[in-house]
Amino acid sequence: MLNRKRTHMFMEIEDYREDLEIRHLRTKNHFVLALLTLMMILTLIYMLVSGFLLYHTLALLIGFLIVIMFNIAQLAYGKDIYQFYQLNKYITTMGVYALSIAIIFVFQSPSAITVLFIAYAISAFYQDLKVMFINNFLLLFSALMLMVNFSEYLNFQSSNTETEFGIAFFLVAFISILTISSFIIIKQKRFYYNQIALSRETEFRSIDLLIDLEEQNHQKRIDIDSYYKKAQDFFQEFSEILKLDNPFKERMGLLYMLEKNEPVNRILDRYPHYTKEDLERMEDLLIGGKHKLRKVAMKLGHTFTSEVGKAELFSEQQFKSFNHPNDALDVKILLFAVFYAALKRGIAGLPLADKAAMRRILTSTDYYYYVDPKVIDIYEKNSEVFDEICEDILGRKAER
């Protein structure tokens, strides 16, 4: 059975990508709010100038204001609880369609039907897969509803069968190309987020690996006692200069106990006004092991002297893969064989991959697309043959 559903090699990417989407959602919400306001102003100006009934104008005004006020409220709440931003996407999408349909019923003109396209464009701003499905459904539903139940709105002066068929055909064609376009654009946006998230996770794991290798090679760990002793002395003198009673002493003591992996209960007994959550949070301030401060320091050392040149947007050349479009098939085949053989042979210092996990990562994660489709499909269908070749040459002991 071939794997079909692809996922990410590093599962953490999913969480971070969601974080990234939420960060940008607020800006998108602002755009949508501005567009809604613009739509309201234009509609009202037109209705007032064209002499529509006042209660129709007021009804639409109230409709717009409800959707806009709802938006503002959700944006305010979203600052603290991000789910409000998410909710806002769905409510606004439905709200803007409700308003568009109301406009169509008030105007009773084919020209007003095109307001549905504006509703689609506004909701498409969110670039969200679920919103896209709601958006498509609402547009299709509204278009069909108008064509079937309110065909008089499309009863043109020069109407004939050709026109009726043409409208139905091209409306469906328009919705289809909008759907395809939105789907791919959303996927493309995900690609950007994926790349950022992937780089962040790669960096995180590379620092972990670097710490391991550094300790293996230098046979040296961070001298926690010395770090804390010197820091305590520094803060004592610093406090004296400021004529303060050393305010760092308590936290330093607590951090030292955390560095020494003292049991949480013992730490809380000594520092009763701290909570378990405080301790969890303060773990990010430890310098030993693979804790955060050490990572910050290592990143700082590596960021130093780094230069960023101008590069094409997510340029093909920047990607590390065995599937560069300009490479010959023979090169792609060989590189995959070298990569696979190196993983099977193992490299001293690198963590080992087991057979099942290797197969799963190569065929069911983003790694699938790092290899030429023809090559990876051969592997996917013949992974047992690959393993047998490895076992024959490396011996069963080398197989994991």
């Binding site: 007003a112 961070i222 990569f339």
Partner: protein, 402 residues
């Protein structure tokens, strides 16, 4: 076909170039459908028969050109031609009929241009479509109106078309800015990751030497394994597996001789030099893409801490809530910088402890904003002597940082 739909479904994993190609194929499929529908519709258009035949034949020819360009991997050219093709279809419809569906064509063409998400194309072709659309509305009012319609209906048509254009204009502009920012971030991160991988590769080499193992590419067992795997795949893909061994020999030869010597050698063919140049990015005798990919793959099997929102956070202000905690963190990091190996030596290897001058330089660099607040940096420079006396002088006495 199955593979094609799978690639659409997995478009978020594909590089930009591949997605561009997918987009062109999708647009071409859509245009084929529309062109096919145009044949029966054209019967009703107000063109003489010969004009209809000429135009439809031109569409077929241009479509053929698009296929040829796509086959030659000229994706940008195919993109441009597919847009021009859509504009041609729009003109054919809008000049041939005054029906409402011809007006829909302006939206369809705008959507095709939007699909490519190219700012300049949208600005140029999009504006052209907008102008044509407005002209169409003004000149074909009677075909777009009901017998009794709302006053100024024409303005609704115009405003919705303009607003549709503007909303997507804002979206493309926003995406362009967002993607460009993310790209900068991504390139910067990749450069830093390459540096980590440089150091990891150095350490891996040291471990290999300690274990008294041959370099991987020189091991007979490894060479045999690569050869057999490559031949097996080549036989499946191309029905002929032996040629791949020539590429493998070249791969080993690049290790042995170095790419410069191969490129200088006039007896080697251009094709072979090109292949050697590509293989040069995947060698085992230094940090290359091959090493980076092996490190990335293997790091999947490292035990790491559970995901929490601060996982990729490196700014002290975001890691520490209070000012005293931030200062403690700063002092610890400062100690790390003056005591541990975190600077590159003359051979670009991470092999030395930073000097005070280098640390000062680091704290003055723009990159530091990603780690510390300006207040912390100012505090350091105000109390620099205190820092040196506590954390550096004693090391100098022991023969550490200068």
């Amino acid at each position: 076909m199955k593979t094609f739909f799978r690639r659409i479904q997995d478009a978020e994993f594909l590089p930009i170039g591949e997605v561009r190609k997918l987009k062109v194929i999708l647009v071409m499929a859509f245009l084929l459908l529309i062109t096919a529908a145009t044949i029966p519709f054209s019967i009703y258009f107000a063109y003489p028969d010969y004009v209809t035949i000429i135009v439809l034949s031109s569409f077929v020819l241009v479509y053929g050109l698009m296929i040829a360009l796509l086959r030659m991997n000229r994706v940008t050219a195919s993109t441009q031609i597919s847009i021009i093709y859509s504009i041609g279809l729009t003109l054919f419809y809008s000049q041939g009929t005054s029906s409402f569906y011809a007006y829909l064509f302006f939206y369809i063409t705008l959507t095709i241009i939007i699909f490519y998400q190219d700012f300049l194309s949208y600005l140029s072709y999009g504006l052209l479509i907008l102008a044509l659309g407005i002209y169409y509305i003004i000149s074909h009012q009677e075909g777009l109106a009901l017998a009794v319609d709302v006053p100024g209906f024409m303005y609704i048509y115009i405003f919705t078309l303009v607003l549709f254009y503007l909303i997507f204009f804002a979206q493309i502009l926003y995406n362009e800015k967002l993607h460009s920012d993310m790209n900068d971030d991504w390139v910067k991160m990749n450069q830093v990751i390459d540096k980590y991988h440089d150091d990891i590769t150095t350490y891996l080499e040291l471990l290999r030497k300690q274990a008294k193992r041959e370099p991987l590419h020189e091991e007979r067992v490894f060479q045999k394994l690569v050869g057999e795997l490559a031949v097996f795949v080549a036989e499946q893909v191309k029905d002929k597996g032996k040629d791949i061994m020539n590429v493998f020999d070249l791969y080993l030869y690049v290790h042995e001789r170095g790419i410069e010597k191969i490129l200088e050698n006039e007896e080697i063919s251009v094709q072979m030099k090109r292949t050697a140049d590509r293989l040069n990015h995947y060698l085992f005798n230094r940090r290359t893409d091959m090493y980076s990919m092996l490190i990335n793959f293997s790091s999947r099997f490292l035990e790491t801490e559970k995901y929490k929102p601060s996982r990729y956070e490196y700014h002290i202000q975001h890691l520490a809530q209070y000012h005293d905690e931030q200062l403690i963190a700063f002092v610890m990091i400062y100690q790390y910088l003056v005591r541990e190996v975190c600077g590159v030596d003359a051979w670009d290897q991470m092999n030395k402890v930073l000097t005070i001058d280098e640390i000062d330089q680091l704290f003055k660099s723009p990159e530091i904003e990603a780690f510390f607040s300006p207040q912390l940096i100012a505090l350091y420079f105000e109390n620099r002597d205190l820092f040196i006396s506590h954390f550096v002088s004693c090391l100098v006495e022991k023969g550490g940082t200068s």
